[in-house]
Symmetry: C2
Subunit: 418 residues, 2 copies
C-alpha cells in the first residue's frame, strides 16, 4: 500500500486518459450547440436524474439558502471569503504603468479585466462552497463584471451562501460537459463566456479541452496530489495527516513522499496505518494510497530534482532549512512550508487558491490567480524626438523585410516640419 | 474601397475559418506523430520543395549568415534586440514575494520560467528577423533555458543573424503544421516543448489549436489589423500612412478608422489614394483595403465602445486628449498614442512585442510578453500561532464538505504541545 515509487511511472500514470470519454463529450457538445436550453433540460434529466423547472437560480433562493446552513458555517465561509479576497488583492498590478525608456520614448503596459467569465463548481452528491469562492473571488478582484457559475443540481445551500457572500448572482444548475458547452457556446438563457475556470471530472475536463476554440480555459486538471519533500526533521504524524487529507479527496488522488531520510518512509507508513483506523473515508483513502508511495533520494539536490520531475499540485516542504528548499524547487501548484502549514489551510482558509494544475501541469501552468482574469495591452507614446531616435531602425529593418509602407509611415513623420 | 463599416459584420469576418484546413493539418500531425524525422523530411520536400540534408542549423551557418547581411542591418537588428530586451525586462516580477498577512500567516508567490519552449518564425519567401527577436528575447528574459526555433526553409541569413544576436542556437528548418507537430510531439531530433509561440498562416494556427493537449500556445492569431481612434485633431497623412503599412502585410489584413469627425474618412481616403500611387506592395494593399473602412461615431464614448467591440490588434490613438482615450479603451493588442507613434515603431524598434492577438482575441488574450513564459506557485508558511488563527475555518468547512482527514490534519497541529 505504501511503497517505493518510480518517478517516470508516476508521471505516466497521472495524466488522465480523456480518450475514453471524448466521443460521449462530443455528442453532448453537439446537442447543446444544436438545441440550446432544450438540450440542457434533457441532459440534466438523463445524467443528474432531475427534471429542472428553471436553469437559473432565483434571487430568493440565495436568501433561502441561509436558513438551511448553520450560522457558524456561514461565519467560516465569510472568513474564508475575506482571506481569499485579501490574498488575491495582493496580486494586483498597477492598471497602467508608463516609463520613459529614452528621451521621447514612453513605453508601458495597461492591464484590463476580461468582460465575462464562467466558473464551474462541482457538486451533486457533495458541497464545494470553497470552490465556489476560489473560482469567483479572484475574478471579482480582477474586475470582471460578469461572472457566470454553473454547478450540477441539486446545488447545496452552502454553495449558494458562498456565492452570495462573494456577491455573485448569476448561477445555473447544470453540470458536466453540458455546462461547459453551454458556457462556451451560449444558449437562449446563458450568454457565452470568454474563459471557463474551475475543476471537474473527466467529462468536464474533456469538454473544456474540446471547446478551447470558443472559450479559453484555466488549465487541464485532474485528481488531487501532494508531494512531501522531507528530511530527518520532518514529523511523521503531520506528514501522514497531510497524505491522508489528500487521499480522501478521490480514489485517484496521488501522494508521494520524497525524502533524504531512508527511515522516514517506514515511520510515515506506520503513522498512516494508525491514522487510517479512525478515518471516515477509509475506502477512498486506501484506494488512493495504491497510487501513492515514496522516493528515497541520496541527497537534497537529488530530492529536489525528483520533486521537480513530479511537479505536484501541492508541495509540502518539511526540511530543516525550508527557505533553501523553497528557493530550490521550480515546479509546484502551491507550496506549503514548515510543520504547521497543513495543506488544508490552503484548501480553505489562508486565502491562497486551491484550483491548481495537477499531473505535472505545474511545469507549464500557474494555479488560478487574478492574472487568469486579466489581459494586457502594451502602450507606446513617442514624441518627435523619440520618433527620430528610433526611425533608422524601423526604416532599415522594414525595408529589409520588404515592407516599404512601414518604412514610409516613419519617414513621413520624420519629414514633417514642426 | 474605403467605405463605411458595420462593426458586427467586421467581427464576423475577422475570425479565420480553420475548418477548411483542419483535415489536411490532422494528416500532417498524424504523419509526424507516426514517422518523426522521416515525415519532416518528406513533408518539407512536398510543401517547401526542398530536400533537406539536416533539420538543425549548424553553428557555423549562424556565423556564415553575417557575411550575407549588410552591416548597417546587423546594427539595426542589434538595436532592436536591445530595445526588445529592455522593454521585456521592465515586465519582470519579483521571483519570490512573501507577506505576513496576519500574525503567523505568511503568504506569497514564487515565479519560475518554463523549462523549454518553441518559437515559430514565419519565412519562406520573406525574411522576418524581427519576429525571430520578438518570440525568443521575451523567453530569454523570463529565464527559459531551452528555446527551440522552427522556420521554413530556406531560412534567410537575416533571421539567423537575429537568432544569433539574441543568443539562440537551436533552430530547425521546418515550417507549417509539421513544425508545430514536431515541437508539440517531439521527434528523434527535436525534443518536445511545453509551449509554442509565434505567428503563422492558417495551417500553423490550426496545428497550434489542435495540439494544445500536448503543448500550450500563446493565442490564436490571424491576419494583421489596425484600428485608428481619431477626432478632428488627427493628421490624415499619418493615419493613411499607418493604414497602408498595416494593409501591405497581407491581402487579408484589416484596417478600421473610428472617428467622431464626419469629414475625416474622406480626407483619409484621399490621402490613402495619394500614397497608394507610389506604394510598392500596391496589389496587396488594395486587396486588404477591401476588408477595411471607417465608422463615424456620434461622440467620444460611442467611438470608444465601437473600438472596444473591434478590439484591434494595433490601436492608434489620434485624438486631442490621448491620455483620456488611453484610459477609456479596454481591448487592444498594443496601443500607439499620438501623431508621432507610428505602429511601425512597435513592429521593429521601440521594444514592445509585435506578436499580438487579432480578430477580437485581444478581449481575452495578452500580446506576447514575459508572463507567457513563466508560471507561478502560491506559497504559504504558517507558524503555530497562524495555524491556531485559521484552524477553526478549516475544521468547520472541511467537516461541512465531508473531508474529515482535512480537518484532522489541522486538529493534529493544534493539539501538538510545544
Amino acid at each position: 500500500m505504501w511503497k517505493a515509487l518510480d518517478v517516470a511511472e508516476w508521471k505516466e500514470r497521472r495524466r488522465a486518459d480523456l480518450a475514453g470519454v471524448r466521443e460521449a463529450v462530443a455528442g453532448i457538445v453537439e446537442a447543446v450547440d444544436q438545441d440550446g436550453d432544450e438540450a440542457l433540460y434533457a441532459l440534466t434529466k438523463k445524467f443528474d436524474r432531475i427534471e429542472l423547472e428553471d436553469l437559473a437560480v432565483a434571487p430568493e433562493e440565495f436568501e433561502a439558502a441561509y436558513d438551511e446552513v448553520d450560522e457558524a458555517l456561514v461565519d467560516a465561509l465569510a472568513d474564508a471569503e475575506a482571506n481569499i479576497r485579501r490574498f488575491h488583492e495582493l496580486q494586483r498590478n498597477r492598471s497602467l504603468w508608463l516609463e520613459e525608456v529614452e528621451p521621447g520614448v514612453v513605453l508601458g503596459v495597461k492591464t484590463t479585466p476580461l468582460d465575462r467569465v464562467g466558473a464551474y463548481v462541482p457538486g451533486g452528491r457533495a458541497a464545494y462552497p470553497s470552490t465556489a469562492l476560489m473560482t469567483t473571488v479572484p475574478a471579482q478582484v480582477a474586475g470582471v463584471e460578469e461572472i457566470c457559475v454553473c454547478s450540477p443540481p441539486p446545488i447545496h445551500p452552502l454553495t449558494l451562501v458562498a456565492l452570495d457572500l462573494a456577491g455573485v448572482d448569476e448561477c445555473y444548475r447544470i453540470g458536466g460537459a453540458q455546462a461547459i458547452a453551454a458556457m462556451a457556446l451560449g444558449t437562449e438563457t446563458i450568454d457565452p463566456v470568454q474563459k471557463i475556470v474551475g475543476p471537474g471530472n473527466v467529462f468536464v475536463t474533456a469538454a473544456k479541452m474540446m471547446l478551447r476554440d470558443h472559450a479559453e480555459i484555466d488549465f487541464p486538471a485532474g485528481p488531487s496530489e501532494i508531494g512531501v519533500l522531507a528530511d530527518t526533521s520532518a514529523d511523521p504524524v503531520f506528514v501522514a495527516a497531510d497524505v491522508l487529507a489528500q487521499a480522501e479527496h478521490d480514489p485517484h488522488a496521488g501522494c508521494v513522499l520524497v525524502t533524504t531520510d531512508p527511515t522516514l518512509p517506514a515511520r510515515v507508513g506506520a503513522e498512516i496505518r494508525r491514522q487510517l483506523e479512525t478515518a471516515e473515508r477509509r475506502e477512498i483513502i486506501e484506494a488512493a494510497l495504491k497510487n501513492s508511495g515514496y522516493v528515497v533520494a541520496a541527497d537534497f539536490d537529488e530530492a529536489v530534482v525528483a520533486m521537480d520531475e513530479i511537479a505536484p499540485e501541492h508541495l509540502s516542504i518539511q526540511v530543516a532549512d525550508p527557505m533553501a528548499a523553497l528557493n530550490a524547487v521550480h515546479h509546484a501548484g502551491s507550496i506549503f512550508v514548515g510543520p504547521y502549514t497543513a495543506v488544508a489551510f490552503g484548501d480553505y482558509a489562508s486565502g491562497t487558491n486551491h484550483v491548481l494544475p495537477t499531473a505535472g501541469y505545474a511545469r507549464t501552468y500557474s494555479g488560478l490567480d487574478i492574472h487568469h482574469f486579466c489581459k494586457t495591452s502594451s502602450v507606446q507614446m513617442l514624441s518627435r524626438e523619440g520618433a527620430e531616435a528610433l526611425g533608422d531602425i524601423v526604416e532599415s529593418l522594414a525595408t529589409a523585410e520588404g515592407l516599404h509602407a512601414h518604412a514610409n509611415s516613419v519617414r513621413l513623420r520624420r519629414q514633417r516640419r514642426k
